[in-house]
Amino acid sequence: MSAEVVPGVAPLVTGAATAAAGPGLRRRAVRRRQGLRVVLLVLFAAFFAVPLLALVEFSTRGSGGIGGSRSLSGWAQILDYPDLVGAILSSLELAVLTSVLSLALLVPTMVWIRLRVPQLSRVVEFLCLLPLTIPAIVLVVGWAPIYLWINYFTPRAYQSSPLALTFAYIVLVLPYSYRTIDAGLAAIDVRTLSEAARSLGASWPTVLVRVIAPNIGPALLNAAVLSVALVLGEFTVASLLNYVNVQVAMNNLSQQNSSVAYAVATASLAAVFLLLFLLSLASRRRTRGSSS
């Protein structure tokens, strides 16, 4: 495979040949390279598209196999499974809680570090990026005893509530939130802005909420969307700590009623893709706006 990478069927076109035969040979080589690119692109597109199409196809398959009629009964039956609906709602709540709380934890800290204790910035960066190096499956092993304690101190009625996962999820989104917020803060003059606000009598909370936050709005949105996407797709931690979120419910259901499970999978995937795609569109418009 790698031999085909060689820019445009190279071995035939030696330097001497190019010089002797003039631009004709070279043009042919370029055209053959274009052909190769198109073929490769189609192959890659097929590899990435087929599983996604198959997912949609499976969730709408009727009685007659793949050639038979389409049916939306899998989608319609989602509402017949109250546990599944509950899990979907839990995941949405988790997504909101995680994105809001992670911002509330990170933004004040990062602003404070920049203004007052820059010597701590390397430490904070290291800590925030650490979850990229320690696999979630490893962290789960360490979280298990901690969650026993959390459960011990929660009132019995709330003990099985998956919202407790927020604690773990905030850690999982740390690297992504840190990077986006850091980029946002680097683009503005935090010191001047906050000193101006302080000299006009603003309190620290006011500075954060009414001066810094509006100025890094896009970065905050970015971080929140990434958190939502990550939480909606999270399976490892929830399943091993015995909480039911949408991914766990989906996985459990796939044994009994696969078309419903695949419908939910398709829907959750579509939601995440849409969120991330809108995000990339929005950020491109911004970078273009700022560069022009």
Partner: protein
């Protein structure tokens, strides 16, 4: 207003206390629990019994399988990803292809877990789209391999290739067209340019990406767990077994030893990555 120093006084670090406390409790404490737990028994007495679990036939095999799976999917992902990155980079740098490819790869590199497993079961599983479609024209495709190591290699490629594109595009961008022109002016063929200029230049970046892909595959759990519900052919699935049945095994901390083993493998890969990265940064910027 009282005059304040530019950087805060001795107590200024207290402002970051909530963050440090949170990270200490939910990130550092779990890591310490794993590291210490690997060397202690249920009553917190020091022991090497857990570490000895790593020498078990099944556990050892799962590590070998995990490393083989990660290496295979990293090599496949890196080679095919580099090809795709080349296709993308030889196009118009501001064109639609470039923008669409980066956006799609950004999304697909994060794609994994139950949904990815479902997508492949729906394609080449027993009742999958491709399986049934091929049924109509020829012999039945065997589907059992999807739930074993070869299947995992294929499924992992689905997020490894896009990740490679994201990581390798900047390196390819760093290759100046002038270098190619210089090689051509000196009479070098495309093959000579590729062999003596492009490959040596890109090797450190390629190796770095390879290590990153390796660590990425090694740490992945959800996709494999959704695909393989019984048994534990790779190390992350051994952790699942240890967590769900540790009371039965009587080895409460066996999972921690396996987790520690995983940390070590990832740490080696990431250290090598950092070393390679330092070298590749010298040329391509």
């Amino acid at each position: 207003m009282s005059p304040r120093r530019v950087t805060g006084g001795r107590l200024a670090w207290l402002g970051s206390l909530p963050f440090l406390a949170y990270v200490g409790l939910f990130l550092l404490a779990p890591t310490v629990i794993v590291a210490v737990g690997a060397f202690t028994d249920v009553a917190n007495r020091p022991t090497l019994a857990n570490i000895r679990v790593l020498g078990n036939r099944t556990v050892l095999d799962s590590f070998v399988n995990s490393i083989a799976l990660s290496a295979a999917s990293a090599v496949i992902g890196a080679v095919l990803g580099a090809v795709l990155a080349w296709v993308v980079v030889t196009g118009n740098p501001d064109g639609t292809l470039r923008r669409a490819a980066t956006a799609v790869c950004g999304v697909l590199a994060q794609f994994g877990g139950v949904t990815l497993a479902f997508a492949f079961i729906a394609s080449i599983g027993n009742q999958g789209l491709l399986t049934l479609a091929l049924d109509q024209v020829g012999p039945r495709l065997s589907t059992g391999w999807l739930y074993q190591l070869p299947g995992l290699v294929l499924v992992y490629s689905y997020f490894q290739i896009p990740l490679m594109v994201l990581v390798f595009l900047p390196a390819l961008d760093g290759v100046r067209p002038q270098w190619r022109e210089a090689a051509e002016t000196l009479g070098g063929s495309s093959w000579q340019y590729f062999r003596h200029v492009a490959v040596p230049l890109l090797t450190p970046a390629f190796l770095g990406a390879l290590l990153l892909l390796f660590a990425n595959a090694f740490a992945a759990y959800a996709t494999a767990a959704a695909l393989i519900s019984q048994g534990a052919i790779i190390a992350p699935l051994q952790i699942r077994t240890a967590l769900t049945s540790e009371v039965l095994l009587g080895q409460a901390n066996a999972g921690k030893a396996i987790a520690l083993g995983m940390i070590l493998v990832v740490a080696v890969a990431m250290t090598l990555y950092a070393l390679v990265q330092r070298r590749s940064a010298r040329w391509l910027r």
